[in-house]
Symmetry: C2
Subunit: 162 residues, 2 copies
């Protein structure tokens, strides 16, 4: 799981798409204009998103993109991993023969952690983010926690460990 500005662009664009689609598909030039991202760069990102089935494109006038499935069924993790090349964290490629003494020990731990992050991001859907937005639209209150429940549990664990 990699997390760079590239993934941020993709999530931002997908959110823009999800929020602005009413009836007509949303064009890339609209998104590019609203979010200040190069259209051609968006084209590359959406090419990958389309291949993963996260968006559907229709050509011609009145065309554009729409979500490949319900926003509730698209996770942030889906979007981010769609636009990133898969990385193998271990230099031995899954074999445990890296070193003699401590073979891939910390690699396994990182792999495990990486999986946890992946799981976390798979637990946040576009719909949750959209709902968050609509709840705060027009209001002056700052954005609060997205998914309070497991965050509270998490901080409970944290305080119990410390």
């Amino acid at each position: 799981m990699r997390l760079t500005t590239r993934g941020r662009y993709a999530v931002t664009a997908m959110l823009d798409l999800a929020l602005n689609i009413k009836k007509r598909p949303v064009t890339l030039s609209e998104i590019a204009d609203r979010q200040g991202i190069s259209q051609s760069y968006l084209e590359q990102l959406f090419s990958k998103l389309r291949k993963k089935g996260l968006v559907d494109g229709t050509r011609g006038p009145g065309g554009g993109y729409k979500l490949g499935r319900s926003a509730a069924l698209i996770s942030v993790g889906d979007v981010i991993s769609a636009v990133n090349e898969p990385v193998d964290a271990t230099q031995c490629g899954g074999q445990k023969n890296c070193r003699g003494e401590n073979p891939c020990l910390t690699h396994d731990l990182w792999q495990e952690l990486s999986l946890q992050i992946q799981n976390f991001l798979s637990g946040v859907s576009l719909k949750e983010l959209m709902d968050k937005e609509s709840k705060n639209s027009g209001a002056k209150a700052p954005l609060t926690s997205l998914t309070p429940i497991h965050m509270q549990v998490n901080s409970a664990i944290k305080t119990s460990v410390f």
Copy 2:
């Protein structure tokens, strides 16, 4: 919060350090050798880790690095953000004047999500990862979940949403 191979190197090295320190400090050449990372690259990473107080270095023969504080008090988030330059996600720099129509809308949402990831990674300490390791050392059982509790809650949320 950025998440690249750079952060992986840092976490891996910190884990190696935490696992292999018994009485003597651990030298970078040891870590470099065990983990297959360039020593000079480690020096750069540890320079940043030291400036954040995450490690203490002692020079001369018998010298090396030790943890700046208890492994229970060092989170994975600490390590990762220590070796990365801070990024401002918005191109307007906190001002809400990016666009006319949808000012920084999705930016706010990304900011919120980014904060969540940060919180999540702040909830996982080096000690948790170490304990995970020692529990599985010598055993053939595969690694299971690190922090089962909030993961279970998380998946519960997920299934309730879907």
